[in-house]
Amino acid sequence: MITVDSLTRRYAGFTAVDNVSFTAQPGRVTGFLGPNGAGKSTTMRVMVGLTVPTSGSATIDGIRFADLPNPGLEVGVLLDASAQHAGRTGRETLTVAADTMGLPRTRVDEMLELVSLTPTEAKRRVRNYSLGMRQRLGIATALLGDPRVLILDEPANGLDPAGIRWMRDLLRSYADKGGTVLLSSHLLHEIEVIADDLVVIGNGKIVASGTKEELLAAAGTLARSTWPRDLAHALEQAGIASTLAGDGSVRTDADPAQVGAVALAAGIALTELRSAEGAGLEDMFLSLTADTQREGVAA
């Protein structure tokens, strides 16, 4: 389990991470979301001891990362796939990590096979790797010590569709056998498919956290009718605020049962009625982080 407690990191002039607290539970995939520069990477760097927090703490199963005797065997970390020595071959990169952790060299071959880097590719220097290959190498390094906790910053970056699917299955099985997975991503669809829990950060502060179901349920209801204006009017009469979207759908914070009852009472036939989950994560993300978006638009 990863526990982040009142974590703050200040730089001269601004606060990158501001009193952030959350946990990532074993057996679950926790998605860490936020706009560019929101403090995701800084938070993750503090977790693994690369950045010293101004105040607060981050612990792995109750222990500070820096106090783990052999961290590679407990926590798999991938923060930046490009942060590898360009003049070293992929195989050497893994060999160095395996040697540091005290693992047998056979583990290197196993990992190369797991992330589908061929022996020829493994002999090439990292300088000649594509982003996707570096990502695979980084994931191999993270998994090398068979850790119980994974901390991955944008692991799907640069992977091809098959790679993304593979990655998703890998993380799912890791969580299913009791591992703790924390991953950040800008690919909201990716997070929506894989994450059990979500932590949303904006301007260094947590703006929302909870299970995916809880957070997306809060996104309300989407209804369609041949007469959307009448439906909106009927909802208003019933005291339910709603918005008429340009595509002819009606959105409201009320739950679907309420909306159905109102429509029935008003004699309006609905063509679609569902919780607004489908559009959910992106809308939720944009509205939650509206104040912190660079583009200055709300959802």
């Binding site: 760097r45 693994v48 001891g49 690369l50 950045t51 010293v52 990362f65 820096a66 783990l68 005797p69 052999n70 961290p71 590679g72 065997l73 407990e74 970390v77 923060l79 930046d80 490009s82 942060a83 590898q84 020595h85 360009a86 003049g87 070293r88 071959t89 050497e92 990169t93 060999t95 160095v96 990590a97 040697d99 540091t100 952790m101 005290g102 693992l103 047998p104 583990r107 196993e110 990992m111 096979e113 797991l114 220097r125 390094t141 998994l143 010590g145 068979d146 119980r148 890998l170 799912r172 099985s173 299913d176 056998k177 009791g178 591992g179």
Partner: protein, 274 residues
């Protein structure tokens, strides 16, 4: 450790749960030194550094055999010829061993696997020291071979004019150069800056200090206590004999190596690795 017995098929098997492990043991320093030694030479630049030491030793030996007049075919001349390229390359190896973690950003992995940065730097220092010793041994051996072959070719007596007291001083001189490079690496944490820095303190600085000593009398007495090149050259010449000369070496070492290294380490341990 359990992790060592896991096969690839089971490590991704969803049905398997994580075994209860015995608590992991701390990583021993000997292992870190071995890893750092490997890292010094398993990159392209590291590999060519190593190769160039061998090649330049042979070239320098060959040059002495071909160009030196017969009475100059002595062990000292071979040692000097080999020593010069060595005294340039060894500090570069020391610099890159440290700075590549930042310039190549591999430190992200290194300091995640070993969060104690002091231990990593310690391992790097030990590895650098070992490389220095082995390289010097190779240089002396190649020089000796050159001396035997050279004197035979020239038909003169083989002259062994490097005393057993001088040899350790030459080794120490090279280790001082490596330590300066290592210190610059720790303080600057950038390959380009540290290499430029090394040439400034080893080529530009001595000229300035020598000039200052010429025009200011009070500095002439002070220079040997401040100028690390001065004491290093004395080592290369095997001329560090008296207690005062050793004290001078101690003084320049404190000023240029010990002090900056301590300050650099303090910053390095707190700094952010990005």
């Amino acid at each position: 450790m359990i992790a060592t017995t896991v096969s690839p098929t089971t490590s991704t098997d969803a049905s398997r749960s994580f075994p209860v492990r015995e608590p992991a043991r701390a990583i021993p320093i000997t292992r870190l030194v071995k890893v750092e030694l490997r890292k010094m030479f398993n990159t392209r630049s590291g590999f060519w550094m190593l190769v160039s030491i061998g090649i330049l030793s042979l070239l320098a030996t060959g040059a002495v055999i071909i160009f030196a007049p017969d009475n100059a075919v002595t062990y000292e001349n071979f040692a000097t010829a080999i020593g010069f390229p060595m005294s340039v390359i060894l500090p570069m190896i020391a610099i890159l061993g440290v700075t590549s973690e930042w310039s190549q950003r591999s430190g992200l992995t290194t300091f995640t696997l070993v969060p104690s940065r002091g231990r990593v730097i310690n391992a790097k220092a030990t590895a650098t020291f070992l490389v220095g010793l082995v390289s010097m041994a190779v240089a002396f051996a190649v020089g000796a071979l050159g001396n035997i072959v050279g004197s035979a070719l020239a038909g003169v007596d083989t002259v062994w004019d490097v005393s057993l007291a001088t040899a350790p001083q030459i080794v120490l001189g090279n280790l001082v150069g490596m330590a300066i490079g290592f210190t610059l690496g720790v303080v600057l944490r950038s390959s380009a800056a540290a290499i430029v820095g090394y040439f400034v303190v080893s080529l530009v600085l001595p000229g300035i200090l020598a000039l200052l000593a010429q025009v200011r009398d009070w500095f002439a007495d002070l220079q040997p206590w401040i100028d690390w090149n001065y004491t290093q050259v004395n080592l290369f010449e095997g001329a560090t004999d008296t207690a005062k000369e050793w004290a001078m070496l101690g003084s320049t070492t404190a000023i240029w190596i010990v002090l900056p290294l301590i300050v650099g380490l303090l910053f390095l341990r707190r700094s952010e690795v990005k």
